[in-house]
Amino acid sequence: MKISYFNTILQLVAILIIYLACSCCAAQNDTVYITSKFEKAALIDVGKIYSSNKNENLSQIINSKIWKKSNNKKHFYFGFNSKYEHILFTLSNKESLPRSLRLEFSNSHINEISTYVLKGNAFLMLNASGIAYPFESRLISHRKFVFPLEISGNESRTFLIKIKKEIGHPLITSIDLLDKVKFDQKSVAQYLIIGLYFGLSILSILFSLFAFYFLRNSSYLIYALYVVFLGLFISSYLGIFQQYFLGKDVLFNKYLHYVLFSEVSLLLFFIFSQKVLMVKENLPRISKAVHILVLTLILIRFSIHFIFQHIYLHFMPVIMKIWYGIILLVCLLIVFELIVFYKKNKKRTSFFAIAYLFMITGTFITVLYHSSGAVNSYIYGLPVIFYSSFLEILFLTFTIVFMVKEIYDERNVLSNQLAYQQQRFLTAFIDGQEKERERIGKELHDNVGSRLGNFKRLFSKKYSNEKMNNVIDQICNDVRELSHQITPSEIKLVGLPGAIIDLVTRNSDEQLTIEFNCYEFPEKVDENIASNLYRVVQESLNNIIKHAEANSVDVQLIGHKDYLTLSIEDDGKGFNNSKILSGMGLQNMKSRVEQLKGNFLLDSTLNKGTSILITIPIN
């Protein structure tokens, strides 16, 4: 048994040594071996590189010893000063079946890419692409540059990739060799994720445009523009823009629009951040500084791209450093603004800070990636900046929603205050009216009435003039009626039910039957409650007589343990008119009820009648 174990271990060690040897060979080799399990290979691991400033004759450089392995183990990084880059690699199919493969470039902004295959001692051009060519010329319609590579069973072929880049810009890209099926699966998944991103963008844009339309605040418009430009930038970074918007357009500078989008969106972000953090109001000096810096950035970019393009060429690295320096400064100022504003509005600042953090992180990683290649910037084939801007938009939209909510809440508070004020005015008005009525009523009843009565008695004692007596009686009656209408002073004598009985009796006639019923109503009711309820009954009977065309009305007072109910029901024509609801009469009743901290319920059905139900808390 022991011997058998020993053998197994020996075999395993042998296999391990062979494997290590092979992988070692493979690493030093420039060959990609295609087996049945092959899915993906990074060309950086196998390809050899040659950089040059002139357009070399390919047949002459093939065997020279200028080819080197890349120093960077993650992706191809070509520095500022070279113009032509060459990558050499060999494909070896270990299978007897032919294979379809895809050569994929992560960077969607390469000027020119051409692929060649070695035939004997000469390179035969297979295909050429890049942003110098119209999109439609691409063999595979994809947002990235993708080249098809075909290889027959048990065949070995040597390929060369030639890249033409601009002097003054570093170029960074991954180049992957993928199995066709694997490539297609990956593409579908990536397009799906990108679709999600643009869905979110469109929702955010619509929301902020709505907010702008209704609130008339430029912050929302700037945000909408920012999301538009950020979307354009991301789409052009991913190559989506070229695929869908620049199909036939060869004349449009395909590199320029990408830069333009990135810069416009960055500037919009800066302006937007100043609005959200209310810098102008809180830190006027910083606000001024940020605006000057933003203007400087615009000027620099404008000069680089449109005016001094050739003069600046040699100073490009320096200019770029100044450019990034200013951006860094503005970013730091925003951090300071965030800290200051946090004390004033914690929620809004927190949302914005999270979004900002995502943006800074994404941008930092991407800038680092493009300028030095020091970090990896791709997750599942999509750049970090894509994910970070996704999260950024998500949180910025939260911020915007929160801002709208703040305004909405503020307005609510204001309108509540306004309603409260109106209520107070109405209450004061009713109070004043009531007091004045009481005063006049008392005067009429006590003073004028008494004097008139006395006058009549004295008069009738001396002169028995029937006609004069009648006239005086008539005046007395008029004064009495008037004083009644003005103030229901009999409430004090006979209570609310008694006073309502009189009211009902006075208003009933052949056309209108008014019934009043009282159940479990307490003996003593607060004077204020009684007189207000009396007025409500008076007012609603007036309304019914004037407008309802009712035949019968039921008025009820019901006493409960800790509240009273007054119900007034008619069988009139009803109404569904908001004018009536907001009319003075109903508002007056409502405000009387509200003054008593009661509930006023009204429902009216056309041609069926109206029902008013009032509950008033007692004790």
Binding site: H445, D446, N447, G449, S450, R451, L452, G453, N454, K456, R457, L458, S460, K461, N469, I472, D473, C476, N477, R480, S483, H484, S489, E490, K492, L493, V494, G498, A499, I501, D502, T505, E515, N517, C518, Y519, E520, D554, Q556, I558, G559, H560, T565, S567, E569, D571, N599, L601, D603, T605, G609, S611, L613, T615
Partner: protein, 215 residues
Amino acid sequence: MPKTIKKIIICEDHQIVIDGLRSIFKSNKRYDVVDYVRNATDLIKSLKKYSPDILILDLNLPGKNGLEILKDLKSNQEGLKIIILTMYNTESIIREVIKGKANGFLLKNCSTDDLMEALNHIYKSESFYLGEGVKKISNHSNLEKEDNFYNKIKITNREKEIIFELMQGLKVPQIAEKLIISTFTVETHKKNIFRKLGVKSSIDLLKFANENQLF
């Protein structure tokens, strides 16, 4: 003709009325205004002091009002005749005065003849004296009974609708939805109905509706 002079106390808070009444009685040998008071507390003192035959009482007084005074007096002042003299001329007040067992009701604009007629009447007849122009009350003897009877059966249309739905077994929110009114409205109506009919549950209500053949 009564032989003795009747003592009168006037309870009235307006000097002008008092003066007027006193001037009327000045020349009359059958009546003597022994005192006049302005409120309930003074009245009680005065009643003790003079034990008058007749009280002319105003209803609208500061502090205790005339109706309250009437109720107090009639329970412990045997033989005192009370005539109400007031500006009020409403059914409810006249009913209360009758319930309070006063002897007559005069309006403040009554003539001297009417006043004298009232004073005569209360000694001739047990019936209530209604002065000139006072509203007539129909069959006031049975007022209270009638009220109670009425209370038991009067259910409004809205309440009928809600009772009907409750009897169908619907809950408050369902009724609210059906009648397109708020649940609070239905709830309030329901409580009113229960309170009015003196029932405590929907089952009691069902019983009541069946016994009284509401539908």
